[in-house]
């Protein structure tokens, strides 16, 4: 099997979606029927990272027209068995490549970008797919509802978490000092503060803080991450008079990410727009009790409430009670996290691709 992959990001990219592709490529590099993957990332890598065997990455020009032209040339030269489209925005190009080469077409869909119809070209293109990999049940449902695809073409392969990088541990003294967190109950939200991503629910937490500190007076809410929504949130904190209880950290370096989880006592992201919410798994892997919403892909990461507390994010009462509950729970890495282990992920990837190629899975 030879794969041509149109990717939004490079193998070494930042963020949850890039992590998904790293895991996907790692899983594919292990299947015996793979001859090779040529990946064409839409954005050139910042750092050079060693790629798994049989995987090549060819950074292409940034301009959409030149990218498309180069992708067509590569497809005609390579004659792949499978076109793997890593982002819904590239699906029209990917479907065109399918028509040119006769290859199978697989699309991976993550979150909110794939939840809405996007015009006739996209509708045509998604109906050319042989298989869609959705990160969660919710994303699958949303894609089915605008595309009208046959349900058996859309499979769920959730994010995976590889234990080791994230682990439980004591509060790192340097962060306790940095944030003056001695003796505090620390509630953490980690994620981009993008004005487009307002769905993550920082503002909903801030709105219930005045009540929450009555129940947990030594509370410190750490908002980790950077983005253009920061100033709005800071104003909101002032509006509620919560300046002494909320701390904005700005960007977190990747080598300090685990430490931040370890500093916290609980993790909350009452989102309404998560494709999945890998942060829930990272936090849980560090032993944090977690809270998320019931209206989006978070449900999957929270295992319907088995892995963490699941609330209606738009209901302040539920949110308040839920936050109190996770802040009072003991830290512990949940047994259920194994559900998202890499071996499960790899087997599922193997099954999906072998069905697409009409061959038997390798295990």
């Amino acid at each position: 099997m030879s794969i041509l992959a149109l990717m939004p990001d490079s193998y070494g990219g930042q963020g949850g979606i890039a992590q998904y592709y790293r895991d996907l490529f790692d899983a594919l590099s292990g299947v015996p029927y793979l001859d090779g993957i040529v990946s064409l990332p839409r954005h050139a890598p910042k750092d050079i990272i060693k790629l798994p065997k049989r995987i090549t990455e060819r950074p292409l020009p940034n301009s959409p027209i030149r990218y498309s032209a180069a992708a067509i040339i590569q497809a005609l030269k390579q004659r792949p068995n499978v076109i793997l489209c890593g982002h819904i925005n590239l699906i029209s190009l990917a479907a065109t490549l399918k028509r040119l080469t006769g290859a199978r077409l697989a699309l991976q869909v993550h979150g909110v970008e794939a939840w809405h119809p996007g015009g006739k070209a996209r509708l045509w293109a998604i109906n050319q797919t042989d298989c869609v990999l959705a990160v969660s049940r919710y994303t699958r449902e949303r894609v089915l509802s605008w595309s009208g695809l046959k349900p058996y073409k859309v499979r769920v392969i959730p994010n995976t978490i590889r234990m080791g990088f994230y682990q439980a541990g004591g509060k790192p003294p340097y962060l306790v000092n940095r944030y003056k967190a001695e003796g505090k109950r620390v509630l953490l939200t980690l994620g981009r503060l993008s004005s487009k991503d307002r769905y993550k629910g920082h503002d909903r937490i801030i709105a219930v803080l005045p009540e929450l500190i009555k129940r947990i007076p030594n509370l410190l809410y750490i908002v980790a991450g950077e983005g253009d929504d920061c100033s709005r949130l800071e104003k909101l904190v002032e509006t509620y008079g919560m300046q002494g209880y909320v701390l904005f950290t700005g960007n977190i370096r990747s080598d300090e990410k685990t430490d931040h989880y370890q500093l916290a006592d609980a993790f909350a992201m009452p989102s309404t727009g998560e494709g999945f919410g890998i942060a829930f798994l990272e936090a849980a892997a560090c032993g944090l009790p977690v809270l998320g919403g019931s209206k989006d892909g978070s449900r999957d990461a929270l295992l319907d409430g088995e892995l963490g507390v699941m609330v209606d994010p738009t209901d302040p009462k539920q949110l308040l009670d839920g936050l109190q509950e996770i802040l009072q729970r003991r830290k512990q890495v949940p047994e259920q996290l194994k559900s998202f282990g890499f071996s499960h992920f790899r087997e599922q990837v193997d099954r999906v691709f072998s069905i697409m190629l009409n061959t038997k899975p390798s295990r």
């Binding site: 969660s136 009208g148 499979r155 769920v156």
Partner: protein
């Protein structure tokens, strides 16, 4: 239920309980549940005991080593033959049920076993060695089977509403199912009115493994039977045809009488039901209990003729008079029992109620006779239209233009379908839509949201949906219409109605005229008949004592309740009065009824 995905939680037992409870009336005699050791697979069953009434017939049923488990709905009419041949090859049986035959047959033949089955069935079979669940449905789609795959867990049941009762299934509407309902008057499979819930298509198998529900595999199509019959067909004399039909009918009726409880019959003044009663008597069914309805406010009364037939064959006959008052008092029950919206079925609801009141658990119905023997006027009309409109219909844009110009000009009392004659009438699929359509595609935006209509039409692609059923080509006009009627109107409307409307009174309706063996026997004799042919007289002549002449001479009326008249008198369902297109004088009652039903589904 099968929690197939590695991240999915084990089955919630309360959810299975809620789903089963919803179907209590379908199986009032017993209830059973089975869970796999890891709790990821669960089968449940509600039993209406008909064959082997002992506890040995309890379901879900396991094979000897527990690697196969089945939950089965329906009847296998050739189970005794299958049982004997399985016993000869060494199988040991614990019970006298048809259910156990399915387990042994699967162990022997795998999924190919479905081809050996004669009857109506829907089952879920767990194969522990394959770690997979097989859903299978009978060739004609007599028994319903729905499933919902949310990406982690598959849930399947005989009813859409039972799945919803479980509480974990999305209610996002399916535009294709909704638009299909307004076009045809019933929801066309595989769609339901909900996106997540699909029907296992008639004559198909759906496997569920670690990836979820796979593409349905078709193992039977009526079109193929006619095509093969055409290749084998010979010129037969009238006598030979009569002989073939009689033998095949008798064989089917005889098989459909197999039961350990009394089997009764619906008996109207029509040819189909009368023939079945006559043949049942030939097959030795004595003291048959028969039932009929008559309606207040109808000009014609067919009950008297039904009584003549009953007298001729010596049945115990019960006739019930039905009017608006009873309709109104039963309306909540009807709406609750109606699994998917359907403009018909009230007749079956009431006649089943009467049958159940006489103590029957099983009744024969003449459903299917018109589809197989050319009883409908569609057999004549469709052929005629296709012939005369083919040429203008192929002029690009002409049909559409004519329709848009004439449609607004048509007076109220003229059918709005007339405007679409050139646009649709030139092909079998288009002409069929004109004949059977409730609303025409161009009318839908007057009553429904335009986005819903556009999306529904895109997904359903009604003309493709219709023409898919006559692929491969059944070869002759007669066979094409027979195939269309059996694969669309009968499957989605009549059979669905017979299921919910009978089972809600714990009554199993058996349909001897909807039988693959019968079809295969008579297809070679029927396929070459002209489109003018009406074979209903072959039915009437089949019993040893043929049906009275009066039955043959009676004009075809159909067996319908005067819903339009009733609706005007029942204020509970008057939401249609808000839609201008439905209020005008010439509007057909079933259009108003359809709109009222749709609204009640999404309230």
């Amino acid at each position: 239920m099968f929690a197939f995905h590695y991240a999915s939680l084990a089955i919630n037992r309360d959810e299975l309980g809620r789903t089963l409870n919803h179907m209590a009336a379908r199986g009032p005699d017993d209830s059973g549940e089975w869970y796999s050791a890891d709790g990821r697979v669960a089968l449940g069953h509600r039993r209406l005991s008909i064959i082997d009434l002992s506890d040995k017939g309890r379901q879900p049923m396991l094979n000897a080593d527990g690697t196969l488990v089945i939950s089965f709905n329906g009847e296998i009419y050739n189970y005794q033959e299958l049982r004997r041949s399985l016993q000869e090859s060494g199988c040991i049986f614990e019970s006298k049920t048809d259910t156990e035959v399915l387990l042994h047959l699967y162990a022997k033949k795998g999924e190919a076993m479905v081809k050996d089955l004669r009857g109506m069935f829907a089952f879920a079979l767990w194969d522990a060695n394959k770690n997979a669940l097989m859903l299978a449905r009978d060739p004609y789609g007599i028994k319903p089977l729905y499933y919902a795959d949310d990406g982690w867990t598959v849930r399947a049941a005989s009813q859409v509403k039972a799945l919803l009762a479980g509480g974990n299934i999305s209610r996002v509407p399916e535009p294709a199912g909704i638009i299909g309902f307004f076009l045809f008057g019933s929801v066309p499979e595989p769609y339901t009115i909900y996106q997540e819930i699909r029907a296992v298509p008639a004559g198909s198998i759906v496997w569920i493994d670690a990836l979820g529900a796979s593409e349905p595999k078709k193992y039977f199509s009526i079109a193929t039977v006619f095509q093969e019959a055409f290749e084998e067909s010979q010129q037969l004399t009238e006598d030979q045809i009569q002989h073939t039909v009689r033998d095949a009918l008798f064989d089917s009726v005889r098989h459909h009488l197999i039961a350990d409880v009394p089997v009764g019959a619906f008996l109207s003044a029509g040819i189909d039901s009368g023939t079945l009663v006559g043949l049942a008597r030939d097959a030795g069914a004595e003291d048959l209990q028969t039932v009929n309805l008559t309606f207040q406010g109808l000009d014609y009364d067919e009950a008297a003729l039904g009584e003549v037939v009953a007298k001729q064959y010596g049945t115990k006959h019960t006739v019930r008079l039905l009017g608006t008052t009873e309709f109104r008092s039963e309306l909540p029950g009807i709406l609750a029992a109606m699994d998917q919206p359907s403009i018909d079925g009230i007749n079956v609801y009431f006649i089943s109620k009467v049958a159940a009141e006489t103590g029957l658990k099983v009744a024969l119905s003449g459903l299917g006779g018109d589809e197989l023997f050319g009883g409908y006027s569609t057999f004549r009309n469709i052929r005629r239209w296709v012939k005369s409109v083919t040429i203008p219909g192929h002029i690009p844009g002409l049909g559409r233009l004519l329709r848009s110009v004439t449609s607004p000009l048509l007076p109220d009392r003229v059918s709005p379908k007339l405007a679409g004659m050139v646009e649709y009438g030139g092909t079998y699929s288009g002409a069929y839509l004109l004949q059977r359509g409730l609303f025409m595609p161009w009318e839908l935006k007057k009553i429904l949201n335009a986005d819903l209509v556009n999306e529904g039409l895109r997904r359903l692609a009604p003309l493709d949906h219709i023409s898919d059923t006559i692929r491969p080509d059944p070869q002759t006009p007669f066979a094409r219409v027979a195939t269309l009627e059996a694969s669309l109107y009968m499957r989605n409307q009549l059979l669905r109605d017979a299921d919910w409307a009978g089972m809600c009174h714990s009554l199993e309706i058996r349909v001897p005229l909807v039988d693959v063996k019968l079809l295969k026997s008579v297809a070679p004799a029927l396929v070459t008949q002209s489109a003018q042919f009406n074979g209903k007289h072959l039915l009437a002549q089949a019993p040893a004592i043929p049906l009275p002449q009066a039955v043959l001479q009676r004009a075809k009326t159909g067996f319908t309740v005067p819903i339009g008249k009733w609706l005007e008198e029942v204020p509970d369902m008057d939401v249609w009065r808000k839609i201008p297109g439905l209020v005008r004088g010439g509007c057909h009652g079933s259009r108003r009824w359809a709109y009222a039903l749709y609204t009640s589904c999404f309230q």
